[in-house]
Amino acid sequence: MSEPADKPKASPAPAPGRPAPKHPGLVTVTVDGQEVAVPPGTNMITAAKTVGADIPYYCWHHRLSIAANCRMCLVEASTSPKLVPACQTALQEGMAIRTDTARVAESRRAVMEFLLLNHPVDCAICDQAGECKLEDYYQRLDARPSRLEGDKVLRDKRRVLGPLVVLDQERCVLCTRCVRFMEEVAKEPQLGVFARGSDEYIDVFPGHELSSNYSGNVVDLCPVGALLNRDFRFRARTWFLSTVASVCTGCSRGCSTYVDFLGQDTYRYRPRENDAINQSWMCDPGRLSYQPLNLERVSTPSVGRGEDRREVPTAEALARATVQLKAMAGTAELAVLVSPGCSNEDLLAGLTFAKDALGVRTLYVGGRPDGPADNLLMRADKNPNRKGLTWIAAALGLGLRPFGELVLAIEVGQVKALYALGAEVPVPAAQAAAALSKVEFAVLQAANVSALTAQAQVLLPAAAHVEDEGTFTQADGITQRFRRAYPPRGAAQSHWKWAVDIMREFGFPVTLGSARDVFRELAPKVPELAGFDWDKEAPPLKSTRGISPLPSAADGRPPGYREFGTPRVRGI
């Protein structure tokens, strides 16, 4: 093979033995003429990215073993006469790498042509369209017409692998990321590569199904549209969705997520890279925990129980709650129920209200009951903010008592009125509702309709976490910010806002106007939260510019959205 003309002249001669490192403790290489010094063991793709050389790849993933089977990342290296796969080749001191030569470009083009040879003409009906690496790399690296003569190889187009995942074998590029993930990360090897050569295909092992709790991750890993989420399939075109960084509320692990939404509907959660908590993954129950954001929401305030229930304006509901709560404030007959599913801001404002206005000394803790746990991500405690609740209650000098004691207290007639921050309870809803029906007066702030909400005299619609900003503190004590995706549905307000509004009705001069205000004003009292910089810890706004019709995520609204008054643009 002849030496390519554009090979760097200054490629270092292979010295006998190992050359001394130029930068002690680091490996120094040259990428496209630029010197890069990286720690030993760094992958070539990562090293190249630091100087802006974007090496394309399908099969490589920084958290999986290296397969080097897609051949997309081939580059020129001074250590080899042939092109080498960047994902697999170890960096050596003094190595010169070129990613921009004609030879590399031609290799990439050829690989793309092979990958598309049997790919079906599916973009129009494919969920991956818009976030597909085949599309991105074809346009960037190939952009030539097809030279295929004859027919494409046909395979199973809708192979249902498990409850959450369906496989289109025609679209698969056999990168084996999914196989490696199930084996190495989920440790449940349910997927395999079958047959050989051009007959190869991905499938579950015979008699099994992809039943792992982590099966949704293979959909994210799949660089093309082969593995699809059955929950999301055919529901939205990705380029219409806007994205904000958020936190999963499925359990106390608090995985970092992206929320993909359109209008006031959330379409899916995707894991967001976070080394400290969830790496690149999230579990299937967490992935599906977006559903209550859209379904059976309490959208308007209402008063009255049973037959007397009627929807009322916010002001009327507030006045009704205030009159009754004020009458009971300071007495032992008034109890406060808080949910560890509320954000720190909700709890800071709500607990301050409970202590200062309602005069309670102890709180009853609701929240979802415990569930299954595993060694990867899922935790038994299904509430995202129990740690935060513990911290804030301790800082305010409030005691915490389990929910069971509240039920007992109601039954013996010790508690006659209730103010509840969140309507999740650790017992079956019917059982809790039966207890609540014995309370004379209950103010309930709830996001979702349940048997419990039917027993409230004053029901206030609460915003879901994606509808406001805030923070959660997960089980290990890591506090994370989440961003607002869209304004609350209907007349819903955040828990903190309801608490502040009622407090104002009580006559307290409260001026807190946003979750940020609440945190900055009240968090300094909580030693564990005092050091948390609410502004600095905000995850960056992910730009949705490019493929969505109008940039919409800046204020969380879809294009043309005018229903909810002034846009919330930073600086206004």
């Binding site: 598309l116 790919h119 079906p120 003409v121 599916d122 973009c123 129009a124 369209a129 818009g130 085949l134 599309e135 074809y138 346009q139 190939d142 952009a143 030539r144 017409p145 097809s146 295929l148 380029w239 510019r545 490019g546 493929i547 019709p549 109008l550 940039p551």
Partner: protein
């Protein structure tokens, strides 16, 4: 003056207050002309301070046709900007289309095929004829001659028909794409254009006969709305209005684009910088444009009309429907747009009213980061007060006509 001291004489009334020697007070009158005035084309309002019938001060107010053109462009792909450019100078939309595309192509480093260059040149010159006919006809109309207007409109309609055959629209042409054109000349179009040009030639002759030596017309045009070459340059005049003042600047000659360097044509230069000269400039340019189109139609040879690169031009439809390669390229181009490398560019073409300049900034994505258009009419409009202050109110009408202010491009 000695006065007898014994007689009491009332003190004289202060000057001007006595009943007999009272001055006739003339008060300056402030009037609005426009925005809805038949002579203020394109909804422009001017506040005029009058001393009798003389304009003392004039303050044009633009913005009634503001459409947020530049900002709108930032939200769409480069090709999707085209319909917005139609609405700039709506008397010659093809020139806006092609001018914009030219700037984008310069930024992206694309050279378009020769045939596309010829078609762009032909389309532009046809619309120059269209634009000038509108302007000349309107001057005649507003100075009381209805016949020249009808002749001009007849010629304009012929051009409009040819443009409709070419682009599918009378006004909202949205013709051309980054990298060339979206379609070739229709069958038999060249012959029809030649026939239309013959007719236009005749009509232009008629208009000239009716106007150029017409006493009423000349009296209201000559020496009216004068602007010197220095002033015109200071105000940023370009096009016929600048050349009427004697400055020989034409972008087609100064930095020939497309295939203008292969075409023989003259650029008329005026002397006085008055309305009459500006009228003559347009009349002569009508003839020159006709000659340009005829030459171009002789020179044009068959070939592709858009670059053969799926990163820029949409793939042919059979490829889109039948192959994954085609459908990906189509999807990417439609949804994300032509990826124009990050950078900035200024590029200009000679539009009917002067230098139509584009300052574009790309951040490397498929949508403009910034689009600024230097509309020739904007600079000329700013010079209007200088041209009419001190003149009679009636002189505003022909002056406003000859500068050919187009609301769409001035107010963007």
């Amino acid at each position: 003056m000695a006065q007898p001291t014994e007689i009491e004489i009332p003190p004289a009334a202060p000057e001007g207050e006595g009943e007999l020697e009272a001055h006739l007070h003339t008060k300056r009158m402030l009037i609005n002309m426009g925005p809805s005035h038949p002579a203020m084309h394109g909804t422009v309002r001017t506040r005029i301070e009058l001393e009798g019938e003389t304009i003392v001060r004039m303050d044009p107010e633009i913005g009634f046709l503001h459409r947020g053109f530049q900002k709108s462009c930032e939200n769409v792909t480069w090709n999707q900007c085209l319909p917005y450019t139609d609405r700039l100078n709506y008397a010659s939309p093809l020139m806006n289309n092609f001018g914009f595309l030219n700037a984008v192509e310069k930024l992206a480093g694309i050279t378009i095929p020769e045939r596309a260059q010829y078609i762009r040149l032909i389309g532009s010159e046809l619309h120059r004829i269209h634009d000038h006919l509108t302007c000349v006809g309107a001057i005649g109309l507003e100075l009381g001659g209805f016949a020249p207007f009808l002749y001009a409109i007849e010629g304009r309609e012929l051009i409009m028909d040819r443009v409709t055959e070419l682009t599918g629209a009378r006004l909202t042409t949205s013709f051309g794409r980054v990298g060339g054109l979206n379609r070739d000349l229709p069958e038999g179009w060249v012959e029809r254009v030649l026939k239309s040009l013959d007719k236009c030639h005749e009509l232009i002759g008629e208009i000239e006969t009716l106007l150029t030596a017409n006493r009423i017309f000349v009296d209201r045009m000559k020496g009216v709305g004068v602007i010197t070459a220095d002033d015109a340059l200071d105000f940023g005049f370009t096009g016929p209005c600048l050349r009427a003042s004697g400055v020989p600047y034409d972008v087609r000659k100064a930095k020939p684009y497309w295939v203008y360097d292969r075409i023989e044509f003259d650029v008329p230069i005026g002397v006085n910088g008055d309305n009459f000269d500006r009228y003559l400039m347009r009349l002569e340019e009508l003839r020159q444009s006709e000659a340009i189109v005829r030459q171009a139609l002789r020179q044009i040879s068959p070939g592709p009309v858009i670059v053969d690169d799926w990163r820029i031009a949409l793939p042919p439809k059979p490829e889109v429907y039948g192959t994954i390669e085609g459908v990906i390229a189509h999807f990417k181009l439609v949804m994300e747009g032509v990826p124009v490398p990050a950078g900035e560019v200024y590029d200009s073409t000679e539009a009917a009213n002067g230098e139509l300049g584009w300052y574009l900034v790309s951040d490397g994505s498929g949508r403009p980061y910034k689009v600024h258009v230097r509309a020739p009419g904007f600079a000329i409009m700013s010079g209007l007060p200088r041209m009419v202050e001190g003149r009679m109110l009636a002189d505003l009408i022909p002056t406003f006509d000859t500068i050919n202010m187009i609301g769409g491009e001035v107010e963007q």
